[in-house]
Symmetry: C2
Subunit: 446 residues, 2 copies
């Protein structure tokens, strides 16, 4: 337990809420502010991509004993189901021995976590708009509008868990020596929907992450508890095969019939959903530092917004909390050191998962449709099963281990160089599981 502090967490999203629980357990007074209404009282909007919880997320959950509670609302996903354009379906398992990620609906998870946080004694203030922060004194400035009257709220510490467009970071950004970048992807996304069968069962396999990889665009689907799937269409805003092109009903229907023929049976409201739901942006945001003295710290998307293609936005944010509390157990009430060690430890890992996530779009949208890529993954899995001490595939390092992301990225690049050589071996498709290939990999690993 630390010396009790009065702490404000700005943002009642997943990271803000879990952080609040952690802080409350340390004996602090914790107030969570959010500019939006209580998500438990409103219908969740049609612009979400389903989340996947993996090892790092579960670690942060289980350290405060919440993992069992959350597992109840998740669906295990142990493989990719790859829908080729000719109707063929391939499966690619993520790990071994049934290792799985968990599909979670963002709205359901967030509501449940706010309930859990309130039960712990965290106080929530919804519809409270924080516009600015005085960094040196951890003072929040709150008001109805940006140009209207503001009042001050005084705290000992402020955490900015207010997402990719964080107002807390916005103030930090106006200081000298604050590095910052925001980069919008040329690819946007739109939510679509596969409803449940009349009996509440899933129309397609619930334990797969479904991908329809089509090169520069793709469709994916993740199961919900109620039998439905949240689908996401990722495609460029402009150019060939883009949102810009799909302007009218006829074009849209033709496009789906051509590229995603097997979805006709399962997405009944394609036209309505497509034109009703917004086309959303994807942004990558990086910054440094993440903290101001012992007063203010950024966490989650507010400090490192990434693209969703590795399914690690939430997991990386939850791992921020794990590392922050490792520093708290190490440094007690020395918050200056806690903050400084926290940002030093997390920054290279946030950069690494940003890079891994960016690369994974091409893996999902293009490579999963490529038989060479699938063969390479098969060889890696075969070798890894035989020599688990010598080879853990990159996806497993990132998703089923707690190895720092930056190490996973570096080792993954090294492994990829080896696999490039292996894939060049003559007749590799025939002798992929031969002693020759095995020895070649062992040699290259030396």
């Amino acid at each position: 337990m630390q010396i009790p502090q009065k702490i404000a967490v700005v943002g009642s999203g997943l990271v803000g809420t879990l952080l609040a629980i952690y802080l409350k357990r340390q004996g602090h007074t914790v107030h969570v502010y959010d500019r939006s209404p209580d998500i438990r009282t409103v219908e969740f909007s049609g612009r979400s991509i389903n989340l996947v919880m993996s090892h790092r997320g579960w670690k942060a959950m289980s350290d405060v004993g919440l993992d069992d509670e959350i597992r109840k609302i998740g669906i295990p996903v142990d493989k990719r189901a790859i829908h080729l354009q000719d109707g063929k379906l391939n499966y690619q398992y993520y790990g071994k021995d049934g290792e799985a990620i968990f599909s979670l609906s963002r709205g359901v998870l967030n509501r449940r976590m706010i309930d859990l946080a309130e039960a712990e004694g965290v106080e929530f203030f919804f519809n409270h708009k924080i516009w600015d922060v005085t960094l040196a004194t951890a003072t929040l400035h709150i008001g109805e509008s940006e140009r209207g009257e503001w009042t001050e709220l005084h705290y000992d510490k402020v955490f900015g868990a207010d997402g990719a467009f964080s107002r807390i970071r916005h103030r930090m950004q106006r200081q000298s020596m604050f590095d910052y970048s925001q980069e919008f992807m040329k690819i946007g996304y739109k939510e679509l929907h596969i409803p449940a069968n009349p009996d509440g069962t899933h129309k397609i396999d619930q334990n797969s992450l479904h991908i329809w990889p089509r090169g520069n665009f793709m469709l994916m689907a993740l199961a919900n508890l109620d039998g439905s799937f949240t689908c996401t269409l990722f495609m460029p805003f402009e150019g060939e095969n883009s949102f810009e092109q799909l302007k009218d009903e006829a074009t849209l229907v033709d496009f789906f019939a051509h590229y995603f023929p097997d979805t006709a049976a399962v997405i009944p409201d394609l036209v309505e959903d497509f034109f009703k739901n917004p086309t959303s942006y994807l942004v990558m945001m990086k910054c440094f530092p993440w903290t101001f003295e012992d007063k203010v710290a950024l966490i989650g998307d507010a400090s490192h917004a990434i693209v969703p293609f590795y399914g690690h936005g939430m997991n990386a944010g939850f791992e921020d909390i794990t590392v922050l509390f490792e520093m708290i157990s190490k440094y007690g009430d020395d918050w200056k050191t806690i903050f400084s060690e926290y940002e030093q430890s997390r920054k290279p890992n946030a950069d690494a998962i940003a890079e891994l996530s960016r690369r994974n779009f091409i893996e999902m949208s293009t490579k999963t449709a490529d038989s060479n890529f699938l063969l390479q993954k098969k060889i890696e899995k075969w070798f890894s099963d035989k020599h688990p001490d010598k080879w853990m595939p990159l996806y497993s390092r990132v998703t089923f281990s707690l190895q720092p992301y930056s190490e996973a990225l570096a080792i993954g690049d090294f492994q990829n160089k080896i696999m490039e050589e292996v894939m060049q071996m003559p007749n590799i498709e025939e002798k992929w599981n031969s002693v020759e290939v095995e020895n070649k990999i062992i040699d290259l690993l030396k």
Copy 2:
């Protein structure tokens, strides 16, 4: 001439003022706003690095007939004077046949240009603080303080020439699909001063850019008209040989005596200037897009702030104006196309000069003290003199030509690969101007 517009230029710096002159010549009503007092009425602060005007800057000046006027207040600089630690002095000429850049004091130049702009009929509004802009209507929001009352100023177009921390860009940055980055260098700078001799002459050669290269830090000096020099000490904020270390008078004096022994005779007020003048930051800023419909455009540092090591911040900003007016002569009153072609044309070149400038710190602070580097430059110059059709050194492309920066960078990288091979030739230091070397370069160019 275009259809007359009511145009606001935010920022009365060098780019804003020259842009205002160009716009006025087109027949527009031009108002220039600046949050600061009229620079002609105040003493110029001790945080400036002298400017150098080179070919691109002169081109923008001469297109409106102002080059002769400005040349009067500049001092030609045709070489680097490299002061080694042992007291040895080397010279490295920039171009051929007396090609020179011109040293200009920022304050003197800016005052002169505001005079010239007023003479053209441009109206200046100093001490006017623009806090925000409504992009869709080119409306400026002006007031005493950021949180106080604002009033609106309506224009047909707004140009943001308000520098690296532009408020106009700040508003654009809050839009979707606006890419932005700011990166602070680990190196800061401090202005120092070499006064004139009692008779008004210069204490050291006025036609040289003086460098004291010392690896991770350096001192440089550029001449002023009044016989003085503006000196700039560039060094890291922290670590070995850093501003952090030079905390007291004794340490400072020892440091200069050790590293810059020949400055003792010419910098009499070292201690006073050092502790009086601020240590300033260097920031690199990139963004895109630079324009909003046909209403708002960024220009100069507001759209591409670079580090000063190539001496091209002003020149790149002036070239923005040249290109903008090329588009105006091409597209007449079609401002949407003018803005769009302007940003498309300039963005890759702004990125290229940013990269060239970043690299040049190492060239100036480290390589100019390296005999191999000086030999390489000597070979390039010798070969270029013999084969002017085959080889123009990178510095000349950037500084004494109008070749787009992005092309100069690409060709420079290609030339550098060639020179790496040439420098590997056995006994190159003896046979540097031999037929063998000449033929080798000709071969590698093929």
